[in-house]
Assembly symmetry: C2
Homo-oligomer: 420 residues x 2
């Protein structure tokens, strides 16, 4: 995909012709900033505030306890989960919106290990990748130590390919589709097939892909998936995450966090746990209803968008970003770490700069909000629903000025600490 | 504590003299109902809606990603946790507001078992009680099955006292201070001492006591505590729960859900998990900020109240409820299952009726909202911050009419399903 946008005017024209441009009106964004951090915290949908107000004033304040039934609170995780399953191309599977990604990793891994204990009791290896978002690795590590049953974590890295790492000793594979730092994308279909060929189950972390790239969990025959809703799905800060389980595993999958929300008859108050059939068995306790209900607003917008059109615009924008940086910014201070090949990347673009921390602080001071990740990574989230071509032009121009004028060397941008 | 309120007029006068009466103005309650279900879902503090609006419109919508630092999102679980520790008389311990009670039971139990594996590696018994809220038992059951290391759950019940159940084979005791059904209260100091005498650690579930009865975790030398914030603390539907850990255990306590929020340096993106010192190590993943921040409003109100004055009013109201039912309602259709002895009960009163489900539906139709719990339990939550003596009079009068006129026999109250 080669862009032909070599002037700001051409970018403005591309925005005028953009079929997705009207989605921008659905979001509330502050004046004068270009927000390139929607892959960390998505923007506020204008309708979210009203939804939260209704949940608080009417559902909580007026309907009170009856809301668990009359306002559907009890079914919210499942009802929203079904929408997520549709978005993820996994309609045959079970999905609930609940808890955090980390906790859902624990549930998925716990359920997958239990399945494998029956199928391949001797397998003790869990494969992930060194570059995975750390919490996934930490959750595996915590489980391995806690179980104390001889499991080990094997990491794909520069010296060990997926082909080499996933073997006939592998119980479970845990990979993140789009890498949080580089934006590199695994081929979900190929890796799932590889895992299955070796007799392993695979869990996909979709944090940086849900709402950003087309996903087809059913088609890929994925086993489990988890992810968050506060990035490209614009669900709000810390909005509940999701867990998806393939239909063929649902009835046998027992997850270790077996709380009353996963019980067959939670209000019979039985002494023993018996998991309910279907998606609810991946729930544990009472969910944060205000955050959960508000999240649905962003998800509903995502469901209106044609995912192929979204992907095309995303790639056009990320391609444009790369081209403009490389054609308009002199010198070699910036090193692209995101794949140039469109099919290999998600929806963000990252460059390493030796003084990346200070560069990002200076850029933010110019109203271009990107993210910084150790070590030295300038990360630019490209969210097609509320960004246009001229935004990308302007962002790269700001980056050019920060570097050419060396304003990032100013003392106020040298103070370490939080970048934003 | 004997009440002398034998007329509605005397109740109205008692309300006029009530030093806590003004707290009622802090809550938004619908006209014409008496809400006796605040022990299931607390009422809406009037200031909660504005707090949520500010979080959504300004913090999320305008400040966006910077809010993790500038609006304190990152520290919210710890900052609110410190307030909870104060409320629970556990200021020397570590406390965070996070996740759900069920998940915090898992963390506390996991950490306690790990500590006991070093101290008493042969101990395999976890003691709880048959009448405990089921999710506590389900979480223990899930952990026992998952660990598959020979742990067993032993339940205190009519045929096995705590003295008998907690022995030198006991690793951990998990009890709920105030029983969700009967309102019976354990003596936290005595049971904690008993557990320690037998070499066990104790986890207290404070769901039905936090904000309702005085709690002194430090004084009792409790080991762990968990609980929810959406009952007497009026935090909102499903607002995040808490976990408290005694200071002497914090540095050695490793909990199995070791996500990035509990890491020593979460933004260094290290491959290996290293727990941070202090309360944060009981965090796992990104918290639902809108629900969490909104919850603080109810907690702040609770912190304004003198806990002894609250307890006195609570006991005066529950005593009045019992007396009025027994003096004004003829026949023996209602059986009190809550202790008459004030020191033995929490802040709700429960009666069994053979047709309790239909009675509660009829009562709700009269605008008196109580709760129904199997089998046959009419449960009345008495929340001293927004209930007065005349409310109790009117509620009992409504109950009297429902029973005397037998209106609960009407067909519309026979339909099973949700009671509210």
């Amino acid at each position: 995909m080669v862009s032909t946008l070599t002037t700001r005017e051409a970018c403005v024209q591309a925005d005028a012709a953009d079929a997705l441009a009207s989605f921008r009106e659905r979001f509330s964004l502050p004046q004068g900033i270009i927000y390139l951090d929607g892959n960390s915290l998505g923007a506020l949908p204008k309708a979210a505030g009203e939804r939260a107000r209704d949940v608080i004033d009417r559902e909580w304040g007026t309907d009170l306890i009856a809301s668990w039934n009359t306002n559907d609170w009890f079914d919210l995780p499942v009802r929203i989960g079904a929408k997520l399953a549709k978005l993820l191309g996994g309609e045959t599977g079970a999905c609930v919106a609940t808890d955090t990604t980390s906790i859902n990793v624990f549930k998925a891994l716990g359920a997958a290990l239990e399945i494998q204990r029956e199928r391949h009791p001797e397998r003790r290896v869990i494969v992930s990748e060194r570059e995975n978002f750390p919490t996934d690795l930490y959750m595996v590590e915590g489980m391995i130590e806690f179980l104390d049953r001889g499991y080990e974590l094997r990491l794909i890295d520069d010296s060990l390919t997926a082909e080499q790492a996933i073997g006939d000793d592998t119980a479970v594979v845990l990979l993140t589709q789009v890498n949080y730092r580089s934006g590199r994308q695994w081929n979900v279909n190929e890796l799932t097939a590889l895992a299955h060929e070796r007799g392993a189950l695979i869990i996909w972390d979709l944090c940086h892909s849900a709402g950003a790239v087309p996903i087809a969990l059913d088609e890929a025959r994925a086993d489990f998936a988890v992810g968050c809703t506060y990035k490209y799905l614009n669900g709000g800060p810390g909005s509940p995450a999701f867990i998806w389980v393939a239909e063929r595993h649902v009835s046998r999958a027992r997850q270790p966090l077996s709380g009353w929300w996963g019980h067959k008859s939670p209000f019979e108050m039985a002494v023993s746990f018996e998991p309910v059939d279907g998606a609810r068995r991946f729930l544990t306790g009472t969910q944060p209803i205000i955050s959960l209900a508000t999240m649905e607003v962003g998800l509903d917008i995502a469901l209106e968008v044609d995912e192929q059109a979204l992907r095309e615009k995303s790639l056009a924008l990320t391609s444009l970003f790369i081209e403009l940086v490389e054609s308009r910014i002199a010198g070699d201070a910036l090193t692209l770490i995101t794949p140039r090949e469109a099919s290999e990347r998600g929806s963000h673009v990252s460059f390493v700069h030796a003084e990346g921390f200070s560069v990002m602080k200076a850029l933010i001071a110019r109203g271009v909000i990107g993210d910084y990740r150790e070590p030295g990574v300038l990360r630019f989230g490209v969210t097609p629903l509320y960004l246009g071509y001229a935004d990308i032009w302007d962002a790269v121009e700001a980056l050019r000025l920060v570097l050419e004028t060396e304003e990032w060397k100013a003392p106020e941008f040298q103070v370490r600490g939080a970048v934003t």
